[in-house]
């Protein structure tokens, strides 16, 4: 494995780690969106580099564009849900939003 491969692999996994860590530790709803986005960047990076290795760049671009579209829609839905939650609770704190237990 050459240097650039190693760099991309490591950075990608560290980005995913950072994203998941953010999801697990934060109490703020919008921070969750940011965590998801950070991890998704790593995924995009992986796919682009995969295509760079095997030469299917056209295919990879169609994948990436689709992923971006999905990301945007997920972001919109998340924003919508969090706005509704804010209306109910007057707060963006996840610690308040724990009605479902057991």
């Amino acid at each position: 494995m050459n240097f650039i491969e190693l760099a991309i692999l490591t950075t990608g996994f560290l980005l995913i780690l950072a994203g998941c860590y953010c999801l697990m530790r934060t109490y703020h709803i919008i921070k969750i969106l940011i965590g998801i986005e950070v991890a998704m960047k790593a995924v995009t990076l992986f796919i682009a580099y995969a295509a760079h290795i095997n030469g299917k760049i056209g295919l990879a671009q169609s994948f990436i564009i689709t992923i971006i579209v999905v990301e945007v829609v997920v972001a919109v839905v998340l924003a919508g849900i969090s706005l509704n939650l804010y209306k109910k609770y007057q707060s963006m704190d996840l610690r308040n939003i724990r009605k479902l237990r057991g």
């Binding site: 650039i4 109490y27 689709t66």
Partner: protein
């Protein structure tokens, strides 16, 4: 080229940490946009030019707009914010964790001699984006249209008053 990619990767990581750890949500959102932009640069260098355009415009643009508008619509008192969420404190371990995991990963990869899984199975193709998307991946186009429509319904449903 490799140098520029490496530098961009470094910036991505740094801004990702900023985005995750910063106590101000606004700065977080902007750092996220910067991560996207550096990713766009890398995509451009990897000859995925259309993907780079989308990444820069949609991800660093539209998603930032969405998150910032969500932040501004739901704003809370600033001092309260830091006290309440303690993001910086709760995330303080992150840089050390990342450094540790980074070394661990490099160590494992180098000692176990892990290769990227590439078997020379696929022949390099000259298939362009439009051919790939429109001819061979018609189902993806259907899917994108539907997912956008679903997103539109979601907006109608979720943002409608009462």
């Amino acid at each position: 080229m490799e140098v520029i990619i490496t530098i961009c990767l470094g910036f991505m990581l740094v801004f990702a940490i900023v985005a995750v750890m910063n106590k101000s949500l606004l700065k977080s959102a902007i750092a996220l946009a910067l991560v996207s932009i550096f990713l766009g640069v890398i995509l451009y260098l990897l000859t995925a030019k259309w993907a780079a355009v989308f990444e820069v415009s949609v991800c660093s643009g539209l998603v930032t707009v969405i998150s910032i508008s969500a932040i501004s619509l739901t704003h809370e008192e600033k001092e309260q914010l830091q006290k309440k969420y303690m993001d910086k404190r709760r995330m303080a371990m992150l840089p050390y964790l990342l450094i540790l995991c980074g070394f661990l990963l490099v160590f494992i990869v180098l000692t176990a001699k892990i290769q990227l899984p590439y078997d020379q199975l696929a022949e390099p193709s000259t298939e362009t984006l439009s051919e790939a998307l429109w001819d061979n991946r018609q189902a993806d186009v259907w899917g994108q249209i539907i997912i956008l429509l679903t997103g539109a319904f979601a907006v109608v449903t979720l943002f409608k008053e009462a």
